[in-house]
C-alpha cells in the first residue's frame, strides 16, 4: 500500500545541497508494523514526512494505495492526510487551550463533521485509549503518557489507513512507552498499517520488520522471525549485515 521508487529528497541549503534521501525504494504492505531506525540525521523523519504527504520527493515516485500522490495538488494532499494518514509526534503536539476531547475532535472539525457525531466519535476514540475519565482535562493536566495516548486517539479518530509515529516514546518513561506501544500495536493487530521511527532498540524490536537507514539510504530491511530477542534487534547490532 506504500510504494516508493527511487525516491530522493534534496534540500538546498545556501549554496550547497543536502541529500536527505537517496534512491530510497521501499514497499510496505497493508497491516504491516515497520520500525524505522538509524542514527540521527539519517533521514528517518524526512522519509516519514514524504510517506505522510507532508513533504514531496525531489525525485522518484510515491504511490499510496496505488495512487501517485507526489504530483497531487496541495488541496488533495490535505484530504489524503485527513482521511488516510494519522500522525503521532514525539512532542505530542496537542493544542494546550483545548481539552483532551476537543483535541481529538480537531481532525473532524476541519472535515466538517457535525458536532454531535464529532463528540461521540472523539469520546469513543478516547475510550479506546483508556482515557474517558480525562476527556475534559487540558493537556497540562495530563501526564506525558496520557498526552501521547490522546494524540493517538486523535490520529486514529478519522480511521486512517496508516499511522505514522515519529519517536512516539522519545519523551516518555519506560512504563508509559510500553503502554503507548501496546496501544498502537493493538490497533495494528486490527489492520492499521504502522510505521514507527525510533531510537529505542526495545521499541524497534517489537516491530515485525525493521528498516535501517544511514546517510539517507536504506541499509537493510528484514522480517523478524518468531524467536527473535528484542536486545539483538537493536539497529546497531544489525549494522554490518
Amino acid at each position: 500500500m506504500i510504494e516508493l521508487e527511487e525516491v530522493w529528497r534534496i534540500f538546498r541549503v545556501g549554496e550547497g545541497e543536502v541529500h536527505a534521501l537517496k534512491h530510497v525504494s521501499l514497499t510496505i504492505e497493508r497491516g504491516e508494523h515497520v520500525a524505522l531506525v538509524g542514527p540521527s540525521g539519517s533521514g528517518k523523519s524526512t522519509l516519514l514526512h514524504i510517506v505522510g504527504c507532508l513533504d514531496r520527493p525531489t525525485r522518484g515516485r510515491y504511490l499510496l494505495e496505488g495512487r501517485e500522490v507526489g504530483t497531487l495538488s496541495e488541496e488533495e494532499r490535505s484530504l489524503i492526510r485527513r482521511h488516510r494518514i494519522g500522525f503521532v509526534f514525539q512532542f505530542f503536539h496537542l493544542l494546550p487551550r483545548l481539552s483532551a476531547l476537543a483535541n481529538v475532535e480537531l481532525p473532524m472539525l476541519f472535515a466538517g463533521t457535525p458536532p454531535e457525531e464529532r463528540r461521540e466519535r472523539a469520546a469513543q476514540a478516547l475510550k479506546a485509549v483508556g482515557l474517558s475519565h480525562r476527556a475534559e482535562h487540558r493537556p497540562d493536566q495530563l501526564s506525558g503518557g496520557e498526552r501521547q495516548r490522546v494524540a493517538i486517539a486523535r490520529a486514529v479518530v478519522m480511521d486512517p489507513a496508516v499511522l505514522l509515529a515519529d519517536e512516539p516514546t522519545g519523551n516518555l518513561d519506560r512504563a508509559s512507552a510500553g503502554e503507548v506501544m501496546e496501544l498502537i500495536e493493538r490497533m495494528n493487530a486490527r489492520g492499521l498499517t504502522l510505521v514507527v521511527v525510533t531510537h529505542d532498540p526495545a521499541i524497534a524490536g517489537r516491530a515485525k520488520r525493521v528498516i535501517r537507514m544511514d546517510d539517507g539510504a536504506i541499509q537493510r530491511s528484514g522480517v523478524r522471525g518468531p524467536g527473535f530477542e528484542p536486545r539483538a534487534a537493536s539497529p546497531e547490532s544489525q549494522g554490518g549485515g
Binding site: 507532508l54 490535505s78 509526534f89 493544542l95 480537531l106 476541519f110 457535525p114
Partner: protein, 398 residues
C-alpha cells in the same frame, strides 16, 4: 468546516491570550468610537444649522445687489445698480410676496451716557420682525411708516440693552450712534446667534435713517417672505424679472433659503468627512495593531499550524481560521467602540443639551463595516503567512 466551528475555534485561540486580545480590541474600539463620536458632532453641527434656517422662516428669499452667479449671458462686471428702498417697495407689492424687509447694515458704537458698545446697526422696517421671526421683549418694534422718511426710533438687542443700561429701564431713553440721537422704543427678546448676526447684540433703526446716517446709496439685502412654500421658485423669477425691468439689467442675485441651506450643508458635510478622515487614522493604527498581534500569533503558533496541516486542514481553512481571529478582534473592537462612542456622545449632550449630536445611522453601519474591513484588510497578510508555513519545518521546532 462549519462556520460556527470556525468561529468558536478562532474565539478559543483568542481566549488563550486575553491581555493581547483585550488590547487590540481596545485599539479598534478607540478608533471606531472616534469615528462615531466625530461623525455625530459633524452631523450635529449640520442639523444645528438646518434648525437655524428653519427658525429663520422657511419661505425666505434674499435679494442682494450684484450678480453672483454667471448664468450664461451677461457676465459679472457690468454696471451694477444700487438696491434701493424703492426697489424694496416694488418687491413688497408683488402678488406672491407676503411681506418684505429692506436691510442696511453698518457697524458703529452705540453710546448711553459714558458707556459705549460697538455693534452692527441694522436699518430696516417694521416688517423685519415678522420676516425674521423676532420677538419683542419690552416696548415695541420699529413703527410702520414711510421707509424713505425714517424717524429716530431705535430697538436694542437684549445684550446691548443690558450692557448700556444695566438695571435701568432703557425704554424712552436717548442713545447716541455717532453724532445722532435715537430714542429707545423697544428691546428684543433673547434670541442668540442666527446665522449672520447675533440678534442679541445688534440695534435696529429705520432704514431711511440708516441710509442717510451712514451715507449709503444701496441696501445690503432685501428679505422677501413668500406666501406659499410651493411658490418659492416662481416668486424668485418674479423678483428677478421685476428687478431686471427696474434696473434694465440683470444685476441682482436672488437666493432661496434652500440654496443657502444646501451650501451650508455641503460645507458641513465636508467638515464631517474631514473629522471621519482624522478618526480613520486611529482606525488604521488599530488595524496595524491587529496585524501585529496576528503576526505574533502566527509566529508563536507555528507548531499549531503545522499540526493542523498534518491533520488535514486545507490551506484555505487555515487562512479562514486566522482571518476569523483578526475579524473577531476587529468587530469586537467595533462593537465596543460603538458603545464607547455612544457614551461619549451622551456625555457631550449632557454638557451641551441644545446641540443635537447623535450618530447618524450610516455612521453606525459604516463603523461596523469599517471594523470588519480592518479585520480582513489587516488580517489577511498574517493569515497568508500562516498558510504558507511549511508543516514539516513548523512541526520540527517545538
Amino acid at each position: 468546516m462549519r462556520f460556527l466551528d470556525l468561529l468558536s475555534f478562532a474565539a478559543g485561540a483568542l481566549r488563550g491570550h486575553r491581555l493581547r486580545t483585550a488590547l487590540s480590541v481596545a485599539g479598534v474600539a478607540v478608533g471606531i468610537s472616534a469615528v462615531v463620536a466625530l461623525t455625530a458632532l459633524g452631523e450635529g453641527a449640520r442639523r444645528y444649522v438646518v434648525d437655524q434656517f428653519a427658525a429663520l422662516g422657511s419661505n425666505l428669499l434674499v435679494v442682494l445687489p450684484g450678480k453672483v452667479e454667471t448664468t450664461g449671458g451677461a457676465p459679472f462686471g457690468g454696471v451694477t445698480h444700487d438696491l434701493t428702498i424703492d426697489d424694496y417697495r416694488a418687491i413688497a407689492r408683488l402678488q406672491r410676496v407676503r411681506r418684505s424687509a429692506p436691510l442696511a447694515v453698518a457697524t458703529d458704537t452705540v453710546h448711553f451716557r459714558d458707556r459705549g458698545r460697538a455693534v452692527p446697526v441694522l436699518g430696516t422696517t417694521a416688517d423685519f420682525a415678522a420676516v425674521r421671526r423676532l420677538e419683542i421683549g419690552s416696548g415695541e418694534f420699529l413703527p410702520v411708516g414711510d421707509p424713505n422718511q425714517g424717524g429716530n426710533e431705535i430697538v436694542l438687542g437684549v445684550t446691548v440693552a443690558q450692557e448700556l443700561f444695566r438695571s435701568e429701564n432703557p425704554l424712552g431713553q436717548v442713545v447716541r450712534v455717532g453724532p445722532w440721537r435715537f430714542r429707545v422704543v423697544g428691546v428684543l427678546a433673547p434670541r442668540g446667534q442666527s446665522l449672520t448676526f447675533n440678534m442679541d447684540d445688534v440695534v435696529l433703526i429705520p432704514v431711511g435713517t440708516a441710509m442717510r446716517v451712514f451715507n449709503r446709496s444701496s441696501l445690503f439685502r432685501i428679505l422677501v417672505d413668500v406666501r406659499m412654500r410651493g411658490e418659492m421658485e416662481v416668486t424668485k423669477k418674479d423678483v428677478e424679472r421685476l428687478m431686471a425691468e427696474r434696473h434694465r439689467a440683470e444685476d441682482v442675485t436672488v437666493i432661496t433659503q434652500d440654496a443657502l441651506l444646501t451650501a451650508f450643508s455641503a460645507i458641513l458635510n465636508a467638515l464631517t468627512l474631514a473629522l471621519v478622515g482624522i478618526a480613520s487614522v486611529s482606525l488604521a493604527v488599530a488595524g496595524v495593531g491587529i496585524m501585529n498581534v496576528m503576526l505574533v500569533s502566527v509566529t508563536e503558533r507555528r507548531a499549531e499550524i503545522g499540526l493542523l496541516k498534518a491533520l488535514g486542514a486545507q490551506d484555505r481553512q487555515v487562512l479562514a481560521a486566522f482571518l476569523t481571529e483578526a475579524v473577531l478582534l476587529a468587530t469586537g473592537g467595533g462593537v465596543a467602540g460603538l458603545a464607547l462612542g455612544a457614551g461619549a456622545i451622551r456625555a457631550f449632550v449632557g454638557i451641551y443639551p441644545s446641540f443635537p449630536a447623535s450618530p447618524p445611522a450610516w455612521a453606525v453601519a459604516s463603523a461596523l463595516g469599517l471594523s470588519l474591513a480592518v479585520g480582513v484588510g489587516f488580517g489577511v497578510w498574517p493569515a497568508r503567512r500562516a498558510t504558507r508555513l511549511d508543516p514539516v519545518a513548523a512541526l520540527a521546532k517545538r
